[in-house]
Amino acid sequence: MQSLENELKECARKLLTEKKVDLIIGYKKGALPLRSTPCFIREEKDVDSLIFDFTCSNNLATYLQKSKLAEHRTPNTENHGKIGIIAKACDARAIVQLIVEKQVKKEDITLIGIACTGILDLKKVSDGLDGKEILNYKLQNGEVLFQGKDFKKPLKLSDILCDVCKTCLNPDPSVYDSFIGEPISGAKTEIVDKLEGLSPDERWEYFEREISKCIRCYACRNACPLCYCEECVVDRTNPQWFGKSTEFSDTFTFHITRMLDTAGRCVGCGACIRACPTHVDLAPLGIKIEKEIKERFGYTAGLSLDVIPPMATFDEDDKQEFIM
């Protein structure tokens, strides 16, 4: 881990000193243990604050959305300049998708690909420690030793990683300019749909239970690298498509609509799930669509730069067995 971070800092420093980029977007240590926060580095002296480990949960591609690019304006210039961005596999896929959708130009972005072995699911950690406060932690031999005020407890790393990370299809960045660490072989080829075996009624019950937890804070939308509409349909008031209450069908309509809007674009990074304060499990919806898109249109989002997203094109021979 240490050597990975050193390599990362070296690479970032080099990019900044050679003036290849004006800004580096990466992670630094957060205020609490197990928390990291995105950071924006313009000067060489700040490079040392960069980190990369299993706490780096945000999808940094979010900061390349048009509305946010405006905030990165380089001093004394008109635009955001060149940006170097630290990209684990799912960030890289989201960035590729943003480039494909012409939200950002490839020549403005330097992708620093990084080897990622999974991101922590803080809910699982908290459950494993019965909600006790963590003061310190140490990673050793596939175990994480957590320390608090009056306890010490090891948890197996594989038990506390995010579900989406455990079923990650492409653990290596699809596109990058430089790569940090060792590429991870053994990519899985099958999309895992954990609700597949259930009956429609059981699935309905599952979603009823999950979606009822939603408080409509829109953290999922804000964390999503591909939710970049200037005005979200859910915020519109004329016409008002969505009720503003947390009534179940209003909430569910919002989530289904968001999933349909990101159909064929969602890279399955799980940023929405990690951002959720009430831990709504949105993954099955996204996974189902991802699977369907792959089967029907043979497309996986964010893998290559010269493609047209599936919902923006068509094939005359698309299957239509469901149409009378």
């Binding site: 979603f207 919902m311 068509f314 005359e316």
Partner: protein, 160 residues
């Protein structure tokens, strides 16, 4: 006199109650029809005096590509028991390719709705051309039949 009046009231109340559940219940189905084909197909069915169930309420749209999945979700939310979307056969779109794009949207929408547990018969899609009055009647008959079998929509209906 008074007993008679009471009886009348009683049956009235019973009738009212049964509309929501049993034999007297009639589904409300919304049909989005493309102006250039299915809408004309419905018209042809009408002028040809072909009988079909009166359960559909038609909304004319310029193209099946105009259908936003939100329309369908919104209909289910507002208490329609079924939704039918009908457009031009592939290759016959007035706008060249609107129905091809629509087909992709519908495929994903239908899969997702079935996945979350909405009965497959509730939301249906068809291609009906302007000359297929007969087919239009058959499609409506099938949709009405399917929805009648499913009963009133309960899932997804807005409760407040």
């Amino acid at each position: 006199m008074s007993t008679k009046k009471q009886e009348y009231k009683k049956t009235g109340a019973q009738e009212h109650k049964s509309t929501g559940t049993q034999e007297n219940w009639q589904p409300k189905i919304i049909a989005f029809l493309c102006n250039w084909c299915s809408y004309a197909g419905a018209d042809l069915a009408g002028v040809s005096r072909i009988q079909y169930p009166p359960n559909i309420r038609v909304i004319r749209v310029p193209c099946s590509g105009r259908i936003n999945p939100i329309f369908v979700l919104k209909c289910l939310q507002n208490g329609f028991d079924g939704v039918l979307v009908s457009g031009c056969h592939p290759g016959n779109c007035h706008y060249i390719s609107g129905n091809y794009y629509a087909r992709r949207k519908f495929a994903i929408l239908k899969t997702l709705l079935e996945f979350i547990g909405i009965e497959p018969g509730r939301v249906q899609f068809s291609w009906v051309s302007a000359g297929e009055g007969e087919k239009f009647a058959q499609v409506v008959e099938k949709v009405a039949d399917d929805v009648k079998k499913l009963g009133p929509a309960k899932r997804f209906v807005k409760r407040i």
